[in-house]
């Protein structure tokens, strides 16, 4: 699964720490999601989407291998 989290964050001009605090996870988790090393749960994906006021599909996308 790939995501546009880094881009969305740049558009909204918030840091990894800000996003982490907004959804109640660690900075490490945001970092690993951004670098496609960790796939968040549905709850976390929905929370992230809510921060950016976008549907989940706008941020997270399935890849060919999934």
């Amino acid at each position: 699964m790939k995501n546009t989290l880094r881009v969305e964050r740049a558009i909204k001009n918030i840091t990894q720490a800000d996003l982490a605090e907004a959804i109640g996870v660690s900075r490490q988790t945001i970092n690993t999601i951004e670098s496609n090393k960790y796939v968040p749960s549905t709850v976390l994906a929905l929370k992230i989407a809510r921060v950016f006021n976008k549907p989940v599909e706008a941020i997270f996308e399935l890849e060919d291998g999934d």
């Binding site: 660690s26 490490q28 970092n31």
Partner: protein, 163 residues
Amino acid sequence: MSNIFDICKVCFTFGKSNFTIMKSQFLFPTWTRWLGLALFLVHLPVMHIWDIYHIHSYNDGNLFSLSHLFFISTVVLMVLGLFLIAFSRERIEDEQIYQLRLASLRWAIFANYFVLIICLIFTNNKADYKDLLRLNLWVPLMSFILIFRWKIFRLNRLLKAGE
């Protein structure tokens, strides 16, 4: 009737909070990690005294004799220390930590059974079984702590590399 309704409401909200916030995990507070470390460190000199003064040679087979009390104190200190270190809450306990903890537990069980099977193959003496039991006491907890800490260290290194 209103009582039943209240009970249902309590059950419902309790159930809901369990699902939305991950509070269902049973873990000790973060500070108990340092208490655990202290207990483990205290056990080392106590164990040394045990060896120097040959207290195990006073073993008369009675329950709560000197040697038995010494044995209890060292073993309980070590196991309690490791237990508290292993099962204390992280500062930010999120779903990734939960997943890492689970993966580390799996590896720890693998390691423990690997050691156990190897020991079972290479022991043929009844006296060795006591050592085997003692080994089994700390191998799962110790390997869990080491693997879990290593995974968290790697996570932090990734964060530093990303900055």
